[in-house]
């Protein structure tokens, strides 16, 4: 009897704790949703459940001539697609070389990658700013893409190399005996087998431009080149109380698709990360 009591008590305790966590997690999110549906634009009058629902702020974002929201969305999509594509390309080439070939400088190269992945690109922000300024890529999406791709290589190359290492060498060796060339082995054997980790890399790098705020802030200057994160930050930063509801609406529109993709794919993300990290 007492054991059963203890059991029920424990289970209730666990549910209670999880319930509290649910509230803590949901509160800010629901608050934002409520705010974005609030017809007035000030934070003062905002309540978590608006008295009269309205989509004014969403409409403003899309249809008001003063709103650059769609342009920002387009910029972000361009940056995200390009970053994702080129990262996967360069990363898989690099990782393939490090995983399958024994060449002079390989070990030092690996160490260099290991060390470089620890330095955030952010650390060299002054230098990046001056560098992009001299080559004329400041305030351009191309400059932003280059920085993203370059910064993504060391870390992701490690992940993918770890995954390649788990693919049996017999597969590509037998293909080599059958006369397959280097590129043929890479494209017809290695890459198809490494799809899960490549998907992880692609997704990570696709989402990064949606979430990153600081690099665009350093690189992009004019409003028509802004990415979403930077544009939205300026909503809040310019006149805090005035535009917060608009920010909330814009934020919901970013968070929804990203969170959905994320939740659908997070299982692969995690397994890819652990596989890559432990085999590193």
């Amino acid at each position: 009897m007492s054991r059963k009591m203890k059991n029920t008590l424990e289970v209730t305790g666990i549910y209670l704790f999880i319930g509290i966590m649910f509230v803590v997690i949901a509160y800010p999110l629901i608050w934002t949703l409520g705010l974005s549906l609030n017809p007035s634009s000030s934070l003062y009058s905002a309540s978590i459940i608006p008295e009269n629902w309205s989509f004014t702020h969403y409409k403003w974002l899309f249809f008001d001539p003063r709103s650059d929201y769609l342009l920002w969305y387009k910029n972000t999509l361009i940056v995200a697609t390009a970053t994702s594509f080129f990262s996967v390309l360069f990363v898989s080439l690099t990782a393939y070389a490090f995983s399958r070939y024994r060449f002079a400088g390989r070990k030092n190269g690996l160490y260099a990658f290991l060390v470089l992945q620890m330095f955030p690109v952010l650390m060299a922000m002054v230098a990046l700013y001056i560098l992009l300024n001299t080559v004329g890529l400041l305030d351009s999406l191309v400059g932003l893409i280059i920085v993203y791709v370059g910064g993504a290589i060391p870390m992701n190359a490690f992940l993918v190399k770890g995954y390649f290492d788990t693919i049996p060498r017999e597969l590509d060796e037998s293909a080599r005996i059958d006369g397959a060339g280097h590129f043929r082995i890479l494209f017809t054997i290695m890459l198809p087998l490494a799809k899960p980790i490549l998907a992880v890399v692609a997704l990570f790098n696709f989402m990064a431009p949606f979430m990153d705020f600081i690099l665009p802030r350093i690189i992009l200057r004019s409003s028509e080149n802004y990415t979403l994160a930077l544009g939205l930050f300026n909503f809040v930063n310019d006149q805090f109380a005035n535009n917060f509801t608009r920010f909330a609406a814009g934020a919901i529109l970013i968070a929804l698709p990203i969170a959905t993709i994320f939740l659908l794919l997070q299982r692969y993300l995690v397994s890819g990360l652990t596989a890559g990290a432990t085999k590193g």
């Binding site: 003062y44 360069f90 070389a97 620890m118 330095f119 650390m123 001299t134």
Partner: protein, 426 residues
């Protein structure tokens, strides 16, 4: 043919290769030798002037104020160093190549035909070809800026002494020395450093502890709707971080934020100064970071917990192990073993977690007698020094310190965990 090979001199081949290609020609690999010498001459013609100016610029940082831009000269100098490094590598490779080929000829190796030679070169050069695009980008975007930053820390580049109007000059370790001797820099540096370390340790550890606890709770066989619970718990990770931080900044706002207005005022009678008092700002930041950061670790731990074989626990049950014993001897080692490198990455991520500090209240509130805000960590202080007060030299010096801390600890830890793992594999 075979008689000649005995006299073939590998030292002579290496010596001749001081002019690239000659040694290869001596080895009767004429096409290879021709390609080597062509590359060598092309490099001399195109790059020597650039490298010459670059090295001059690196030493002098320019001589005529207003005309010579020290920043451009500095970047040319760094590019020259990188070019020279590559050239030197190729040069040494060329000598080694001549020596090795000659050695092989001496042992009776037949020089391959042109076709076969190209095939060999393609096979040997292929990995370099694969690595080169990535390497080029890496140098351009990561290595070059980091080197630039490194050099900048030894100059006097600030708001009052800025190119192109003024010339920069080398000042040695002066910036680092003033960081620990000039009172305002010293006070700021140490208080920021201490807060950065506290922040990294407390925020990350709480994050991991909460994640571990939740992962254990949800993994309990008596709990139902596991999938749903896990999805909700992962939600903070799925929502873009900058969005949530800005939302929290509004929620914690002293005057109209919902936390003060709707929760604390009814409970305590008054709100707390989340934005204006450094202590409460720090508390708020740590709470927000735990909210943001635990789901990732939770997802990791959940994956590992599910992969622990039930046999372990059955065996423990037979031996009569208590719940705590099972935890300390089975669950905890398993989880830590599988995730240690990623957990270390969490620490180094938080050490440089610029977004949360900057987006919450720009590192504020201001503190008397310091040139950093009350919640500034090193990296956000660097940002402030760079883009607000344009103290580029000091920003660079602090960046170098950050770099040493991050690289030192992480490298050490990676090596340790790796050797630990290899032992575990036996």
């Amino acid at each position: 043919m075979t008689g000649k090979t005995e006299q073939h001199n590998s030292r002579l081949a290496a010596f001749l290769s001081i002019i690239p290609g000659l040694g290869q020609a001596y080895n009767r690999r004429y096409v290879k030798g021709f390609i080597f010498i062509a590359i060598f001459i092309a490099f001399l013609i195109t790059c020597s002037r650039f490298i010459n100016i670059g090295i001059w610029g690196l030493f002098t940082l320019g001589e005529i104020p207003g005309l010579d831009d020290s920043r451009v000269l500095l970047s040319q100098g760094i590019i020259s160093i990188i070019l020279l490094g590559f050239a030197l590598t190729f040069y040494i490779a060329n000598i080694v190549d001549a020596y090795k080929d000659a050695q092989k000829i001496k042992e009776g190796w037949k020089v391959p035909g042109i076709r076969e030679g190209f095939q060999n070169a393609w096979d040997k050069g292929f990995p370099y070809l694969l690595v080169s695009p990535g390497l080029f980008l890496l140098i351009f975007v990561v290595a070059f800026p980091l080197m630039f930053m490194g050099f900048l820390a030894f100059t006097d580049y600030n708001l009052y002494n800025a190119p192109p109007k003024n010339l920069l000059s080398w000042v040695g370790f002066e910036n680092f020395i003033s960081l620990v001797t000039v009172p305002i820099w010293r006070d700021t540096f140490f208080s920021v450093l201490i807060w950065t370390l506290i922040w990294t340790f407390v925020a990350t550890t709480l994050q991991i502890a909460l994640a571990f606890f939740l992962a254990l709770l949800v993994n309990d066989p008596r709990i139902k709707w596991k999938k749903f619970i896990r999805t909700v718990l992962i939600l903070p990770w799925a929502v873009p971080g900058f969005v949530t931080i800005l939302i929290f900044a509004a929620l914690f706002n002293d005057n109209f934020g919902a936390i003060n207005r709707d929760i604390l005022t009814p409970l305590l009678g008054s709100g707390l100064p989340w934005m204006t008092d450094p202590f409460f700002s720090k508390i708020a930041l740590i709470m927000i970071q735990v909210w943001l950061g635990f789901p990732f670790v939770f997802a990791l731990f959940t994956g590992v917990l599910q992969s622990i074989s039930a046999d372990w626990y059955e065996a423990a049950d037979i031996d009569g192990a208590s719940r705590i014993q099972k935890f300390t001897n089975i669950t905890f080692p398993h989880v830590m073993f599988a995730t240690a490198p990623l957990l270390i990455m969490q620490y180094s991520f938080n050490f440089n977690n610029f977004n949360i500090i900057y987006l919450f209240n720009q590192g504020g509130p201001a503190v008397r007698g310091q040139n950093a805000g009350g919640t500034d960590i090193l990296i956000s202080w660097v940002y402030g020094l760079t883009f607000e007060s344009q103290n580029y030299n000091m920003a660079a010096a602090i960046s170098i310190i950050i770099g040493f801390i991050v690289a030192g600890t992480a490298f050490f830890q990676f090596r340790r965990t790796r050797s630990f793992k290899e032992e575990g594999n036996i």
